[in-house]
Amino acid sequence: MNITDLTVYELKEKLDKKELTVKQITQAYIDRIIEKEPDVNAFVTPLTDTALEQADKIQEKIDNGEISATYSGIPIGIKDNICTKGVKTTCSSKMLENFVAPYNATVTEKINAEGMIDLGKLNMDEFAMGASTEYSAFKKTRNPWNLNKVPGGSSGGSAAAVAAGLVPWALGSDTGGSIRQPASFCGVVGLKPTYGLVSRYGLVAFASSLDQIGPITKDVRDSAMLLNVIAGHDEKDTTSIQTEKKDYTKALKNDVKGLKIGVPKEYFGEGINSEVKAALEKAIDEYKAMGATVEECSIPIADYALATYYIIACAEASSNLGRFDGIRYGYRTPNYESLKDIFVNSRTEGFGAEVKRRIILGTYVLSSGYYDAYYKKAQQVRTLVKKEFDKAFEKYDVLITPTSPTVAFDIGVRSNNPLEMYLADICTVSVNIAGLPGISIPCGVDSQGMPIGMQIIGKHFDEETILNAAYTYEQRVKFRDKYQPEFKNK
């Protein structure tokens, strides 16, 4: 048995039966990190030095019967835009290279309350802006299936770490696809919860009206388990919704008979790779075979979703990132003679090209004279997108689309072509715009052996239905039994 191959559900079973200790699990992950991290580059700040000590403490508490939390002693990795008190939170930016948050994000508090062991902070595109993790100021994370390929982004470190077995599960954040797309590229499960289900307090904001924290896991049951931990209203985040506490694992019924699936044709058109399309069609056939009803449908406004997304996300980002001005924390230029110099040079030197591109774009669309044509118009389209999804959900329980138009691409091929990079989000952004939950699960590999992701979109706060749909498919095709990352091109 290879400990790092086990799901958290399995780890937990073995812990409960005393077949494994916390220390054994932690040690196995540390060994794996030592072995594979040099190839994968998933971590910005590994915390392996303190993990064993933490493991001992937790084991002692478990032995003394002092801990009643469900996931005590289970390791985890956290995307580096989620604040962890006393540990650097860099957002993979030179701007925050040495920033240590003086407080914990709400999700971090929840993870800590569970007694989970934080193995480290995971790499990402700078400030979560990107689709390949190549825009990290520190390192390029590699795809465990093929080290010449990107892991996707922006939560590329989280997805790659889970795929490579460096952590059993991880937290990511998703503004336009940043959990689902890297999950798809790395052959793991990524869930973007409904906007408002998980507190954003302590998530360094990219686009406040779109950002959500969510789990990246080996399988769907783990996804439901980690969602149990992080979901729930937080009085520190007024956009988080009061909902009853649910046990999402109870939704996993392994049965989709009668499930009404809509397949929006707009997501299968131009630009979608034929192998991706074929894999999706096959997956859809599996659903039919399992007793679900499948129908083609249309969400015409989807064509405008990407443009809308980049206006809204950049507008909010231009304001959210204003606080990085060299005054209170983060990078300050050594080159200044005036206040204006501090502002301009700190930001010029501290931010990478993609972040600056989006700040400029966002500043432009909010400027007087352009506001109505861009920002206001985008908000109007946003309303229409919501309406079209609401309409589709009158008829269907879930919608199925590819997660990304392609499989993972080669490192370097898109990093200098922003527009092509933006297209990687085309299937995922509308879910954020509409605030819906979406999950990406692997549904096959292409001719090069790279994983293909299927996106299942659900109604607001109906994570149960998409989790069950994903779980039932997963149980049938058993992707993990057939395919594992091979670290090609090592």
Partner: protein, 481 residues
Amino acid sequence: MPREDYEVIIGLEVHSELSTKTKIFCSCPTEFGGAPNTHTCPVCMAMPGTLPVLNEKVVEYAVKAGLATNCEISRNSKNDRKNYFYPDLPKSYQISQFDKPLCEHGYVEIETENGPKKIRLTRIHIEEDAGKLNHDPYGRGSLVDLNRAGVPLIEIVSEPDLRSSSEVEMYMKKLKSILEYIEVSDCKMQEGSLRADVNVSIRPKGSSKLGTRTEMKNMNSFRSIVRAIEYEVDRQVEVIDNGGTITQETLRWDDVSGRTFSMRDKEDAQDYRYFPDPDLVAIKLSDEYIENIRKNLPELPESRKERYIAEYSLTEKEANILTASKYLSDMFEKASKICGNTKAVANWLLSDVSRILNEKEWEPDRIPFAAESLAELITLIEKGTISSAIAKKVLEEMFETPEKMPSKIIEEKGWVQISDEGAIKEVVLKILAANMQSVTDYKAGKDKALGFLVGQAMKETKGKANPQMLNKMFVEEINKM
């Protein structure tokens, strides 16, 4: 063209700090002062990842202010971000309200020489205060203090309905008094909790077209507001009379030199890129919520004034002065209740207390002693423990050592009135022996002589002898002679 031929048009943006216990978006205290950056937390220091949570009290206070100034209250309002870079603005945006303020279309009434006048309010909105920059005493630049960052403010925007600096002063005083009465702000101008930006333009009388306006900032007393307006109107008249044109610009008033300086002109006018704050949900107010606040609004200055005239038979002028400041009015009511002598309390507040305030150029809210002290002072006079003359001296002391009750001051200073018959008799006999001529004069019918004798006795006792007793005893003793 002489100045009298121009009409002065003034509109005000008044910022008032709300007296909520905690800040608008976090639970830090709003208390004034404190060592730099001690009233702060990750939220008001704008640490990455933090989120604002709107303090419901702020909404309640703003609605109160809106209702007290006859505004319509929006059922559906929101917060917007005003983006600009400045070291005292930690998020690099101020959370304010742009196109959907909480309160709109109100007015307040002022009493001008030509009768009452309504000053229309465009809007009242809520927003957060910024921090403060201090100069590093060691000269290494500026130091940022974020204690004020996130303190709640309301901005009250008037229509350009004001026509003179004295109208502005009346309007400001009226606003201050209303805000104090409804207890939403302590309006301490010296602490910056009430401040105004003044927009001034001029036009030839009879013209209906507005002139170009300038905006003045940094006035922190009624006096400096009046001075700044007078200065700016003179300046504008001079510019126009010399064939120039007024530039739309922001001016900073300098109280020391008594003139304005240009801060920035329209050319580098900021584009604040307002947009709805996605971190905050819409502010939705129900009719019941608003009605509940309306029902529980405290008595406003107008109705208190009318009550004073009717119940205490004060003149309109007296009632006006007493009610203009809630602090003064509350002190009047409290002291009256304790000592039971409304007329005396009113007299003391309107004469001696007001005189001392004027000398000190203080607003009534800086009266340092409590209503209990004033009440005791009046009771001491009534009981004959001190004379009115001594009481005036005691009042002066009360301003200096407000923590001491009048009885304590009198005791310490040895100012207790001599009402002991034996002691009075001793003094009377001594004065009579030394002034036999006056005795003769009095007996000859010169009543003035008695006054002289009493005066001598008062001098002898340093004003402490009970004057009524002196009078009585002098007459008795002279008659015995």
